[in-house]
Point group: C2
Chain length 289, copies 2
């Protein structure tokens, strides 16, 4: 089942809506223009993980988009309502969505809670095959062209979805986007993370934020606890060869967590089950803080 809770000034804890019935206007710019933003987070045993990181990123996306959104406290109450309205579940996907609303009116904001699908868990265990796909942008465009909204998590995800469909049609599970100047960027719904172990020094590296990627909340949570556990941390630039040279590569995201990459463009790469376990534990720890 899906629980919907709309943020509505008339309802302090949010207005619960029947998810089996239409609740959006067909003229909402969220649908007519993909004009809005979102976050997806995992709630475990009723507690959202990385809540502040998600609310901070939502606020940052809103600022990039010139959207005035409800304050964090209103989100927190609506999230609590959504979780309370859902039958108890070990894991819930909690999505926060805000659209620009109907022209001339206020933004539409809501929380959605539902059980995660099974594919995330499967992919976490079996690993994933990925394709490198050109994102069409160079790695400096985000800085010079803010209207491209590269740092915002917008509802305009048609390209991300098309890239995933392209991968599946070609026998892969997921995608790592690259820039036209040959940098590793991000997955359509995830952050790239690589581990290298050299002379006993263990290093986690993720692409440079300035290359126009979304700041990963999971990567951020993991980096905090990984540092305390003795990992060296690095921010790219990364190029595709770095992926092939690494001791392990993951796509990391809030729901699927660390999905080990087992092949890139059909070429097998090492999968380090022990590192996946260790880092997943550190990620979960970092996500609770």
């Amino acid at each position: 089942m899906t629980v919907l809770v709309f943020l509505d000034p008339a309802y302090a804890d949010g207005r619960v809506a029947d998810a089996s019935k239409p609740s959006l206007m067909a003229t909402d710019q969220g649908v007519t223009r993909g004009d809005g933003i979102f976050e997806s987070m995992l709630a475990v045993d009723g507690t959202p993980r990385k809540l502040s990181a998600h609310l901070d990123r939502l606020a940052s996306s809103a600022e990039t988009m010139d959207l005035v959104i409800p304050p964090a406290a209103a989100w927190e109450r609506a999230i609590a309502t959504a979780i309370a309205e859902h039958p108890p579940a070990e894991e819930l996907v909690v999505k926060l969505l805000v659209t620009r609303g109907i022209e001339g009116e206020l933004p539409t904001a809501w929380v959605q809670a539902s059980r995660p699908g099974t594919s995330g868990k499967e992919q976490r265990e079996s690993g994933i095959d990925v394709l490198l796909l050109d994102r069409g942008y160079d790695s400096s465009v985000a800085e010079r062209a803010p209207w491209l909204l590269l740092g915002a998590k917008t509802l305009s995800y048609a390209v991300n979805m098309a890239a995933l469909r392209y991968a599946r049609k070609h026998g892969a599970d997921d995608v790592i986007f690259t820039s036209t100047d040959g940098r590793v960027l991000e997955g359509p719904t995830s952050t790239v993370l690589i581990a290298t172990v050299r002379n006993g020094v263990r290093t986690l590296t993720t692409p440079l934020l300035e290359s126009g990627i979304l700041p990963g909340t999971s990567q951020g949570a993991l980096f905090k606890t990984a540092a305390a556990a003795g990992w060296q941390l690095g921010y790219g630039p990364l190029v595709p060869q770095d992926l092939f040279d690494a001791d392990a590569v993951w796509l990391v995201s809030s729901i699927r967590l660390l999905a080990p990459v087992r092949s890139i463009d059909g070429r097998q790469i090492p999968v380090a089950r022990d590192l996946t376990e260790e880092l997943t534990t550190l990620l979960v720890k970092g996500s609770r803080e």
Copy 2:
């Protein structure tokens, strides 16, 4: 007022919905992922202009997006219903929208009819100030990266809307996107068209379609009748200097028609009122055929 007509196999002529009430599911991938396509056309005295061109482009967008959409005949009946349900109006904006629907279910498809705003007519008369903004793509990316959906008119328009907001914040009305390799592309919701008159030869030029722009239905309609009226026709490549060297520049689209550009990046360019009139007449003629 807005009329909504959903394409629904149970209703041969479409299902009329109350536009003052919610009619979309909050879990529709049209809103959660901007995953869908659309068309906007003008109906004059109850007759949609360029109907086949819009239906053809909708079908082409659907194919690019792997979306199975209702056949043209079903759209035509729903459009007729929408126009009939709206109080008679000289001009109506008729939008066709299709989303990927709820996960695992069929696409959601509907027609929306409403009166146009006043700004299009104003801009047609007064002219528009535009900014050149970098689209972040080079002009060859569409061919090598089909997952970027550059030839499809998707609902993921957040960047187009952000570019327009950027222009307005900087004192302009509209935008002409350029590629990273210095080509003129298109407007966020329009096609670029330039006229040059040299030694009595009158030429209309529009950017190369292969540069990753949307094929303009208005430009297509105009080119047919303009050729018959003695205009030479050309397809770019165009570079920004071509805009400054032209005898007139327009942004052309289905609702606003030919909007004369009067300045680019703050620099005045010639406005040719007689050409605008002549070409608008030819566009209207071409749109009726």
